[in-house]
């Protein structure tokens, strides 16, 4: 077929499809012309006008028939058939609102859940940063030991001196940016109001191709040594929400640590930062951070690859220059540390979707949830397949007639598949709504009080593509079996459609499969639920309820170092006097508070291991409710002039002293930059307390006495146990601090909230997987019920005969339930194998139990069997109650 011909055909087909009216009109005109010419010719031959007309019409053989024939030759296209089938399918679905509702609702749930999880994955991992040419961006990471010192920020990789050395030597990138996440306090005084912020290198915005909404962004000229407090740019959202979108924002300043910083511009609306899940509010140049120490690890780097460079080339190039960079930027390390530091390893990873610790911790759970949601959808479509199979059996008569009067099997297949597609389409439209609600509700599950997670969950082409694909696959899964069955209908006359229970075998097989998959999901849900419970009931060694954590930040200027010890003593006293306060203590870090400090422990000049270090005041253990099991608490004896004393946890004592600990000594070596160390005498031993992770089993912690601290800092953290309402206590604390120093800033937290937030991921997994497991159970039960009651209905005659011949009610009951039992046992048996196999993949996310936990599996199977029999009981009773006389009359 030549191209021209093809084009003409396509044009004509489209014309007759879309402009049917004008085609008809042309046809009219053409035939009219013929008639008139013929009449004229006839008249010319001497006929009367009437006779001429009649003859012409006769010759043509009926204008309408001819028109119909012409239309036929124009071909009824596939599209036209499809439209016809769609109309028919719509009518069919309208006639059975119950069926339609069940089908659309279960599809909406199934596809919606999948879309919601996919939306999260998309936002977290797939969507590229809203910057210029994101695919050229790569992140440089360092691995290996050797970064001893100060660590701040979520994406800490290198120090500022390291960045400068890298910048001077690297060839792989056309430009390379460095940034460190931080928080800026927007409140000039009193309780703090944080926004997420970013320290950025001068080339940051230029390299990413981000533009200002108004004013200008930070440029290389802003990031120079000695820039002082620097300048600030703010996000579009902050500009709108905090500053009312006012145009005079450019003259304003932001408070920052006692000074103010001028706002020079607003970032374009689309840019949220380079870390997925975070929305920056403020950005300031790196030079203003004052973080210039060689042993301060706080920056992450992203480079834009030069044309022609691959990630692998960049990686080997950077590894090549690394030793020089490391030597040039080395902190004053001891020799052993310096060796480690030089031996670090570079990896270069894709950064087109930005950097994200959130992605690292949630990607795997989300993929697991995706698989779970996929299985739920599978169960839902098996239900639909069953419903449609039942309908198919009922509609065999109709299709047999259609075949007999000339319908082709292809057309019937097409029509049945059209119905499935229509259902899937309706289901997926509803699914988008379900997904919208579901996906919005998940980020709060990942957020803590302080750290809000912002994920851009808008629908993009990937989400729509995913939903469409899910709907199509689903439609094929549930539509094909019934369609093939129907298309195989023999035409009328060749076989009387007899047994109503045809296809029952396939339907029972499908239900067994559903039960197997449901067991997998129930098992998984229970595993996560028990993991969460195991964590929630873990003893972290404190009574966290009713404890307020108050962080008070003083300005360097308001609280000079030499006045601090005395001033803090005054403040401590005033806080202790607040009504309702039972006990109060000052502390360096709180249990599961997110920050910690780690040290080497030496005994008799020999390295024995590591321990967490905390520094607490007297009364700390009383306030938190941790018993001191041996020895004493810190007290008035522990002054700076006295020998250093320590309290240790039981696990510390067990690990390093292997006997009575009180009176024993250990040494904390000076940091890695100098030799020597400080000797501590153990004066007390407490029950274990956990600081890092609830999953820790033997937390080795040592507590220094804050009363021996000669140089307290500008931040003071209190733990306060109060008998009054926290709100009331917090107000009193604020008032007391304000009276003490009006320039101080305060941040509050509740210890129990803080502890709960340490289990965010597990809580999310427990919740979502249990919900999915429940939905799966519901769907499987509905499926089982449907098959059993349909089976009972189609066997009425048989059961009637059985009863007439003397079968008892119990016998009928046991016959039906035995049948159900066989379906379920088969499903549960296969399900157990599948569940144990699948659970191996989630072993690392569990706590306190193994992925092959037999008890959990037994509980899941028990629940499933119980619900299954309960759902079958109703149709079984109906079967047992069949009255043979009635049945015989019916037939």
């Amino acid at each position: 077929m030549t191209f021209d011909r093809l084009r003409q055909i396509v044009r004509l087909r489209l014309r007759s499809l879309f402009w049917g009216a004008s085609v008809d009109h042309e046809l009219d005109e053409e035939l009219r012309y013929h008639l008139e010419q013929q009449i004229d010719a006839n008249v010319a031959r001497g006929m009367t006008p009437e006779a001429a007309r009649a003859a012409a019409l006769r010759a043509l053989g009926g204008v309408e028939q001819r028109k119909e024939e012409c239309r036929d030759t124009r071909g009824i296209s596939i599209v036209e058939n499809l439209l016809r089938d769609l109309r028919l399918a719509f009518r069919q679905l309208r006639k059975q609102p119950g069926f339609t509702f069940t089908a659309v609702a279960s599809l909406a749930l199934g596809i919606g859940a999948n879309t919601a999880i996919f939306q999260l994955l998309n936002a977290l991992s797939l969507r590229t940063l809203p910057v210029r040419a994101p695919h050229e961006l790569v992140e440089m990471r360092l691995t290996g030991d050797g970064r001893a010192g100060r660590h701040t920020g979520r994406n800490r990789q290198i120090s500022l001196p390291q960045y400068q050395e890298l910048l001077a030597r690297q060839q792989a990138f056309s430009s390379m940016i460095a940034f460190g996440d931080t928080r800026f306090n927007l409140a000039p005084k009193g309780e703090v109001r944080y926004v997420d912020g970013l320290w950025v290198s001068g080339n940051f915005f230029e390299t990413l191709g981000v533009t200002p909404a108004i004013g200008r962004l930070i440029g290389p000229a802003d990031d120079t040594k000695g820039c002082g407090a620097g300048v600030a740019v703010i996000s579009y959202a902050l500009w709108q929400n905090q500053f009312g979108g006012r145009a005079d924002i450019l003259g304003q300043t932001l408070p920052n640590g006692g000074t103010t910083v001028p706002i020079v511009g607003v970032i374009s609306q689309a840019f949220f930062g380079v870390e997925v899940g975070r929305q920056i509010g403020v950005a300031m140049p790196n030079c203003a951070s004052g973080n210039t120490r060689r042993d301060h690890w706080w920056l992450a780097t992203i480079g834009r690859l030069k044309p022609g460079w691959t990630r692998a080339q960049a990686q080997s190039h950077l590894q090549g220059i690394l030793p020089e960079v490391q030597r040039a930027a080395m902190p004053e390390f001891r020799a052993d540390w310096a060796a480690l530091y030089e031996k670090m390893v570079v990896s270069v990873v894709d950064a087109s979707a930005g950097v994200s610790p959130l992605r690292q911790s949630y990607q795997r759970p989300l993929w697991i949830l995706m698989a779970v949601a996929g299985l739920v959808l599978l169960i839902a479509s098996v239900n639909l397949a069953n419903l449609l199979l039942a309908r198919a059996t009922a509609r065999r008569q109709e299709f047999a007639v259609r075949l007999a009067i000339g319908g082709t099997r292809g057309r019937i297949l097409q029509q049945v598949l059209t119905e499935s597609l229509l259902l899937a389409a309706l289901g997926s439209i509803a699914a988008l709504g379900v997904a919208f609600v579901m996906s919005q509700s998940i980020p709060p599950l990942m957020s803590t009080v302080v750290d809000r997670i912002h994920l851009d969950l808008s629908m993009d082409w990937r989400v729509f593509g995913f939903t469409t694909a899910a709907a199509l696959v689903t439609a094929l899964v549930f539509g094909l079996a019934p369609a093939l069955r129907l298309a195989g209908t023999p035409a009328v006359g060749r076989e009387r459609s007899a047994a109503g229970n045809e296809g029952a075998g396939l339907r029972r097989l499908l239900v067994s499969a559903q039960i197997a998959i449901t067991l997998v999901l129930l098992f998984g849900g229970l595993l996560f639920l028990r993991t969460f419970r195991n964590l929630a009931t873990q003893d972290i060694g404190v009574h966290e309820r009713g404890v307020i954590v108050a962080n008070v930040f003083f300005l360097e200027t308001a609280m000079p170092a030499e006045k601090r010890i005395a001033a803090y003593r005054t403040l401590d006293g005033r806080l202790r006097a607040i009504p309702g306060v039972v006990s109060i203590a000052e502390v360096y870090t709180t249990p599961l508070g997110g920050s910690f400090s780690d040290t080497d422990i030496e005994i008799d000049h020999k390295f024995v291991g590591n321990a967490n270090v905390n520094r607490v005041s007297a009364g700390y253990f009383t306030t938190l409710g941790t018993p001191i099991v041996e020895g004493r608490d810190f007290d008035a004896r522990d002054v700076p002039e006295a020998g250093r004393v320590a309290i240790v946890t039981r696990s510390f004592a067990d690990a390093y002293f292997k006997g009575p600990a009180i009176g024993r000594h250990f040494t904390i070596p000076n940091d890695i930059q100098r030799d020597g160390g400080t000797d501590y005498e153990v004066v007390g031993m407490t029950a274990d307390q956990k600081y890092l992770d609830i999953r820790e089993t033997h937390p080795k912690v040592m507590f220094k006495a804050s009363s021996q601290d000669t140089a307290p800092g500008t931040t003071r953290r209190y733990v306060i146990r109060s008998t009054l309402d926290p709100q009331e206590t917090v107000a009193s604390i604020s008032a007391a601090v304000d009276a003490f120093d009006p320039t101080a800033a305060i941040r509050y937290a509740l210890l129990d909230t803080q502890v709960g937030e340490a289990m965010l991921q597990e809580r999310m997994m427990a919740r979502l997987s249990t919900i999915f497991g429940g939905v799966a159970l519901l769907l499987a039960i509905v499926g089982l019920y449907g098959v059993v009651s349909y089976g009972v209905a189609s066997r009425r005659a048989e059961i009637g005969v059985r009863v007439a011949l003397g079968a008892s009610r119990a016998r009928i009951l046991s016959m039906i339930l035995g049948d159900v039992g066989r379906i379920m046992i088969a499903g549960v048996a296969v399900g157990c194998l599948l569940a144990l196999g699948a659970a191996r993949g989630i072993g690392s996310l569990l706590f306190g139990l193994n992925p092959d936990d037999v008890t959990t599996l037994a509980v899941a199977a028990g629940v499933l069997l119980l619900c299954g029999f309960a759902s079958a009981a109703w149709p079984a009773r109906r079967a047992a109650g069949i009255d043979p006389v009635k049945v015989l009359r019916e037939s």
């Binding site: 011909r5 053989g61 024939e69 012409c70 124009r74």
Partner: protein, 111 residues
């Protein structure tokens, strides 16, 4: 679709193509021409002409254009396309083969 019984299948298409190869014509003219040329031996009913024309158009062998006639009325003129010309050659050949075969068969001496 009904076809005149006395026309071998596909012959009408061949005749129409042949006629349009000479000049573009409208439906009525084709019908007149057919009757004249075949001397009323071929009974082509007007009724079967138009579906045939539309089919040929759908196949892409002929194309249609509305043009004024000699007596200044608008009529739909059909003309042969390039692929129609090729089709005419092909159908003429196969017709010749068929006609030859049949005439050979029917003229076999009956001994």
């Amino acid at each position: 679709m009904s076809r005149p019984a006395d026309l071998v299948q596909g012959t009408l298409d061949l005749l129409i193509l042949k006629m349009l190869a000479l000049e573009p014509l409208h439906g009525f003219a084709i019908s007149q021409r057919l009757k004249q040329m075949s001397g009323d031996i071929l009974q082509v009913s007007d009724g079967s002409l138009y579906p045939a024309l539309h089919k040929l158009e759908q196949e892409g062998w002929i194309e249609a254009e509305w043009k004024p006639t000699e007596n200044n009325r608008r009529a739909k003129f059909y003309s042969l396309t390039r692929s129609g010309k090729r089709q005419l050659v092909k159908e003429t050949e196969s017709w010749a083969r068929l006609a030859g075969a049949i005439s050979m068969l029917v003229t076999l001496p009956e001994v």
